[in-house]
């Protein structure tokens, strides 16, 4: 028995985004179970958790703590603000940071040590545009949170829709704290869209948007990106029929890795898994693979060696399929389109 590998998590565990923190932690826990069961590593993995509160300051303090006190070589984190604050600290301390939740396009180039295992949001918009055209949904109204994510989605639509013969008939930005959407509904109705696209990174906000728009007589098609895959949203009656994109993650697939993840999740947490969870599951799995390679080669496992290993291998077989990292260590994988139906999500393309 040698020294254990320290892996940190830096998720919001309190405040309005704490639902994500719980989800991500569960995913990491499941991955750890599987890694241990498979005896992938010689030394055990030890998890250390810090609360980022989804704020930059929380992220900076937590990251420093993980990097310098806990001496983690590998940290899983999420949220754009947190990522931005943590990235320089992690970079300075040579800690590999895995982002599986934040999808702002400005995350791509934060630091060489900053790895995006989730396809960034602009890629999701690119994937939904043809589908909208195919369905004849020409007039699109966008409700977006005014942050880099929302802005980039807005730009993607404004540029991409006309090419497909559609128009962005209205783009309404909201602050991240907004909870009342009755008035927005009035404006959305006013522009007579065929489809309404929601771009908010906050799950509770998305569910409120969907409910209040439906309540206020908006019957048009709802569309969103991977955030729509949260269990609380899928379960909500007002989400019925909502379309969302996400990494290709087919829960019904027979591919053994994904099957193991889905079944493991169902037995352990008595719930349906979501894409975000898969990202963080894969995040820890990726660590195990990298560390396994290093252990075999007799190289010590540090942030530096892990990153070198990642950039050397580039392509990994993770649950849900093959993932390739580009020169900025940002992943790309296939995007799938799903629909909420009867409180479950089903793949439609």
């Amino acid at each position: 028995q040698t020294q254990s590998h320290i892996v940190g998590t830096l998720f919001p565990m309190s405040g309005s985004n704490a639902e994500f923190g719980t989800l991500y932690t569960n995913a990491v826990q499941l991955a750890l179970d599987h890694i241990t069961a498979d005896r992938m590593l010689k030394s055990p993995i030890e998890l250390r958790s810090q609360d980022s509160q989804a704020t930059p300051q929380g992220g900076a303090v937590g990251m420093t703590r993980l990097a310098t006190v806990d001496k983690a070589s590998y940290v899983l984190l999420g949220f754009t603000g947190v990522s931005k604050a943590a990235a320089p600290i992690g970079g300075r301390n040579k800690v590999v940071m895995i982002n599986g939740g934040g999808v702002g396009p400005d995350l791509a180039t934060l630091s060489p040590y900053f790895v995006n295992i989730i396809p960034l949001a602009n890629k999701e918009v690119t994937a939904i545009l043809p589908w909208l055209a195919k369905e004849g949904l020409k007039r699109v109204a966008l409700i977006y949170v005014d942050d880099p994510l929302g802005q980039s989605i807005n730009q993607e639509f404004a540029a991409g829709l006309p090419k497909q013969g559609g128009t962005l008939v209205g783009a309404f930005s909201v602050p991240p704290t907004q909870q009342q959407f009755g008035a927005i509904a009035a404006r959305v109705r006013d522009v007579k869209p065929d489809a309404v696209y929601f771009a908010t990174p906050i799950g509770t906000q998305l569910s409120q948007m969907a409910k209040q728009l439906r309540d206020n007589g908006i019957t048009q098609q709802f569309v969103t990106y991977s955030v729509g895959n949260l269990p609380s949203i899928v379960a909500q009656p007002e989400s019925e029929g909502m379309i969302f994109t996400g990494q290709a993650a087919d829960w019904t697939s027979n591919e053994p890795k994904i099957k193991r993840f889905v079944e493991g999740w169902r037995t352990k947490y008595k719930a349906e898994p979501v894409t975000y969870a898969l990202n963080y599951y894969n995040g820890l799995m990726l660590f195990a693979m990298l560390a396994q390679g290093l252990e075999r080669a007799g190289t010590p496992v540090t942030g530096e060696t892990l990153l070198a290993e990642l950039m050397r291998v580039r392509t990994f077989q993770l649950a849900g399929g093959e993932v390739t990292f580009d020169e900025h260590a940002s992943a790309s994988s296939a995007i799938q389109i799903s629909r909420v139906h009867g409180g479950r999500s089903e793949k439609i393309g």
Partner: protein, 292 residues
């Protein structure tokens, strides 16, 4: 471990400056501002812009941050000259909410919700002070300077003038105090110091966005001052240490389940605030009241 402690210590120092500057308003001048984070923010953005676009010199950036905050503090002085007590609290609240909106909408100046990224490492008059130890030293220097100047000012006639206004504005006027001028200066001093703290914060984090300058931050700052003891020199520091380090200490407690750490922290935090106020209403650093 050292780096972690250094980081915490630096943050504590920065918040120490903030709390001490807020204390000038709350404790001495009786101006109950819940908009202090606004001036913290203004300083941070101004300092960060200087560092990003001109030179990453702490002194220059702090000067810019402090000056801009001091200028904009007129927004706070204006209502302070007209109303007191609850009305002023409400006014500063309004200012805080407006400022948050402006911070998140003025993309070209503040980067919006995305914030300003990649603030370069700090230097001081050409010397690199970006290493944790050196930057802590800079911050401690700034804190010491602030505390000393606050102490000197508040022990002297200026401080007495402010406290007189705090206790009875009309009596202070009747004794020849120029109330509007004294109040405006006090607000300007408090807010410029907050701006300096903001600049240091921007350098320390290398990334800032509106989330650090919200109402919660303002209330937290206020709690630091009140819990430590408003109107005392060391009270704000005590309050800062307590409120800033409490979460850090709690995170070392092993038996709290990882998923609940945040909630438990906040719970203890809130409980500590309430209980401290019930049992030490005058603040921790205040002398236990003798007569009366």
């Amino acid at each position: 471990m050292t780096a972690y402690l250094l980081n915490l210590a630096t943050l504590a120092t920065i918040f120490g400056i903030l709390a001490a500057s807020l204390n000038v308003l709350i404790g001495y001048a009786g101006i109950f501002s819940v908009a202090h984070a606004v001036f913290f923010g203004v300083g941070a953005y101004a300092g960060a812009q200087v560092a990003l676009n001109l030179v990453p010199d702490v002194l220059l950036a702090s000067l810019a941050g402090g000056l801009l905050s001091g200028l904009l503090s007129l927004c706070l002085a204006l209502p302070a000259l007209r109303v007191r007590g609850e009305y002023f609290v409400a006014a500063s609240l309004g200012l805080q909410m407006l400022a948050v909106t402006v911070f998140s909408e003025a993309h070209s100046l503040t980067g919006g919700h995305g914030g300003l990224v990649g603030i370069p490492p700090a230097s001081l008059l050409g010397i690199d002070v970006s290493s944790p130890w050196r930057f802590l030293a800079v911050c401690v220097g700034a804190l010491t300077l602030s505390l000393v100047s606050i102490a000197i000012l508040m022990r002297g006639g200026f401080g007495r003038g402010l406290m007189a206004i705090r206790d009875s504005e009309s009596a202070a006027e009747a004794l020849g105090k120029n109330v509007p001028a004294l109040k405006t200066i006090a607000v300007a001093i408090g807010c410029s110091l907050a701006g300096v703290a903001g600049t240091l914060f921007a350098f320390q984090l290398a990334f800032i966005n509106v989330e650090s300058f919200t109402l919660e931050q303002s209330v937290l700052l206020m709690a630091m001052v009140i819990i430590g003891g408003a109107g005392t020199l060391l009270g704000p520091l005590v309050g800062t240490l307590l409120l800033l380090l409490l979460p850090a200490v709690l995170s070392f407690i092993p038996f709290i389940p990882a998923t609940e750490i945040g909630t438990v922290q906040q719970l203890v935090y809130g409980l500590a605030m309430t209980l401290l106020m019930i049992f030490r209403p005058a603040g921790l650093a205040a002398p236990s009241t003798g007569r009366r």
